[in-house]
Subunit: 206 residues, 2 copies
DNA sequence: ATATTATCCGGACCGTAGTCCGTTTAGTAT
DNA sequence: ATACTAAACGGACTACGGTCCGGATAATAT
């Protein structure tokens, strides 16, 4: 029904008109490899498009033709783990996947997302940053729809779209990383607060 | 108790060591005036620091000495309306100000903030953007503390700091503007969803 | 008035994301 | 093998935020 696509993230491969040329494919691999190297050395924030082009031994134009933008590159780097997470919450075992009651799935979704952000946080933040509309990135749309769907299943008697927006906001990488890294909040405390939040949200008003 | 400062926003005036020099004061006025002009003409996003310096007839260095950064300039431009809003929710008449029950104050706070963001949204977004930590801006800290305080007053039996973070997230300018401008959500619908959210949050778990 | 000094000024300079376009090359048809 | 073409390449270029430092200037002391 709302199953859009499991891997909605541009992988750097142009979608239209046949397979890509061999030099293009080779350069894409070179770039992804160089990007992972640089991130290991300098962190995601320290990766610049110039350094990446130089390290990969290609021109700067090639980098942008492959990935469109810095955010596009970051999303490509995240696509594997993102697809894996999407697979787990859509088709995997309960309580994250189908089979468990909606509230439990919501709680598990938050916990899963918190874990994901804490693992790939810098990358996720770099991907969000400076993309014109972070909320229309396919992956973000999918999470939103998933939360909205679970809210409806749980019988929410309020505005599901906006309530899903509020819940998504809570799981924003930038905010979660601030809480953990700057404020020293533990992941367990985050998960518990998320549990409290969604439990209250789905309970009917009076 | 948690009353930090009513006007915690850098006004472009250096805080330390006596009054500013007359040429500095004159240039600050020139710059603020030019900034408002440019925003009227090009919108907040269209304002660049180079154009601003040229329009005001000063060097670029002067712009950055006054305001520190683009975000600092935007905050300075917002400081009057921000101080006015702070005054209303801290000392003004109920239900926004003290005197009303905490839940009603929370509801009014959200409505007030939604109105504020819809009025000064682009400016607020530009101020948030590219400041290293948006969450440590004095105004943001004050809102957070206010929400946290009201949650405690309302007898919240969950993590007040994190719950205040979740509620703040819902009121993020970027998200609210996306909902209204791109998704066509009405301000009334936003307010109603906020009301539903905070009402559920403050109600005790079982 | 003159000298002194702390502050401020200006604009050249840097790093970065993203664009543009003349040149090269991989695939294909003959 | 050769010619052709669409795609890809590369790196100079632009726009922007932000820094730096030698020179100018406002306030103050004498």
């Amino acid at each position: 029904m709302f199953l859009v696509s499991l891997i909605p993230i541009r992988s750097g491969t142009p979608s239209g008109s046949g397979p890509e040329r061999s030099d293009a494919a080779r350069n894409r691999e070179l770039l992804l490899c160089a990007a992972r190297q640089l991130i290991e050395e300098c962190g995601a924030d320290g990766l610049t498009m110039d350094k990446l082009a130089e390290r990969a031994g290609v021109g700067k134009g090639t980098v942008f033709r492959r990935f469109g933008s810095r955010a596009g590159l970051m999303m490509t780097l995240l696509s594997d783990s993102e697809a894996e997470f999407q697979g787990r919450f859509m088709f995997g075992p309960p309580p994250l996947g189908p089979g468990a009651p909606p509230l439990e799935r919501l709680i598990a979704f938050g916990a899963g997302r918190i874990g994901y952000v804490l693992e790939y946080g810098d990358l996720a933040r770099a991907a969000d940053h400076s993309v014109y509309n972070r909320f229309e990135v396919p992956a973000a749309v999918l999470w939103h729809r998933h939360i909205e769907y679970l809210l409806r299943e749980a019988g929410l008697d309020a505005d599901p779209w906006l309530m899903a927006m509020s819940l998504s906001a809570t799981l924003d990488p930038e905010r979660l990383l601030y809480a953990v890294r700057v404020q020293g909040v533990s992941p367990e405390r985050l998960e518990e607060s998320w549990r409290q939040l969604v439990t209250r949200v789905v309970r009917p008003a009076e």
